[in-house]
Amino acid sequence: MIEVKDVTKKFGRKTVLKGVNFTAEKGKITCLIGINGVGKTTVMKAIMNLTPIDGGEILINGEKIHKGSYEKITFIPDTITMLPQMKIKEAFTFMADFYDSWNQKRAEELLEFFRLKETDRISELSKGNTAKVNLILGLALDVDYVLMDEPFSGIDIFSREQIAEVFTSHLIEDRGVIITTHEINDIEHLIDKAVLLDNGVVLKEFDTEEMRENEGKSVIDVMREVYRG
């Protein structure tokens, strides 16, 4: 389980996170929802120690992050995490070199699924394909947790469908997934838990199926209530 406890963060004078609290369980898909700029990406970077926090703590499987954590948790940002001049093959070799949890077979399967070639150069790929490569770099690791930042934003609809397939597949099974999005429509029925962020805090954290069963509300219904109320 990933626990985000009372996390605060300032950027200069502006306090972006004012005490964020939520948990993300292994085996579930947790979605951070909020408008652009609310701090969703910041929270993800904070979990990965890619940006420092000013207060609170973040625990992964009960421990603070350390170098070994990176074999258990991976981050798929909206920017490519490899050198642009590398060919996909070289990127894979790099990952295999440094990560024990790299699964080359799965990487090749995903490459085929996304119809990319390992001789493609990253700098020459379209935005959609770059996102797919990024996805492979994260999903081909045998990690417990996968963090995805806006996996669907700015991507053409066909690539989006392909990427969405990942969420319904064995690649997600048993893993804890945290995704951020401001476009909840497409994936409402895919997520297990919704975390609504606004103004630096979590306004509501709930299980989507429970919300539907107990209150007959969709995620968007709850969002309407919480953000307007």
């Binding site: 319904t168 029925h189 199926e209």
Partner: protein
């Protein structure tokens, strides 16, 4: 499998509903093998957790059964199948009655209309 999910009813319940409909219509035959959890999730475009939950519920309700490590199958139990059909019919009847009740017409006339329409199709 093309199922449209609404966002207000639990997805797993909608999956079960879909299965019931397919069983009642005879599209899913008794004893027929059903896709694995993973496959179902993939085909219906849902979260594997949801597929898992749906299967668990259906197993508990007796709609499907699993023998050992073999893939799960639709029940062959006539009682259960009959119940499913009746349940779906009752649901449709209930909806019908609800919409028709407010219109002030005696039951006999309503039944007559129903019979005529039924013969047409």
């Amino acid at each position: 499998m093309n199922v449209k999910f609404n966002n207000r009813d639990p997805v797993y319940i909608q999956v079960i509903q879909y299965f019931k409909e397919q069983i009642a219509k005879g599209i899913f035959e008794p004893g027929q093998e059903i896709p694995s959890r993973r496959e179902l999730a993939n085909r219906l475009k849902i979260n594997p957790n949801t597929a898992q939950r749906a299967y668990k519920e259906m197993e508990e309700q007796g709609l499907i059964y699993t023998e050992g490590n073999l893939p799960s199958r639709i029940t062959k139990d006539e009682q259960v199948l009959k119940m499913v059909r009746e349940e779906l019919i009752l649901e449709a009847v209930s909806t019908f009655i609800h919409s028709v009740r407010s219109i002030n017409v005696p039951l006999e006339e309503v039944l007559n209309l129903v019979e005529k329409e039924y013969e047409k199709e």
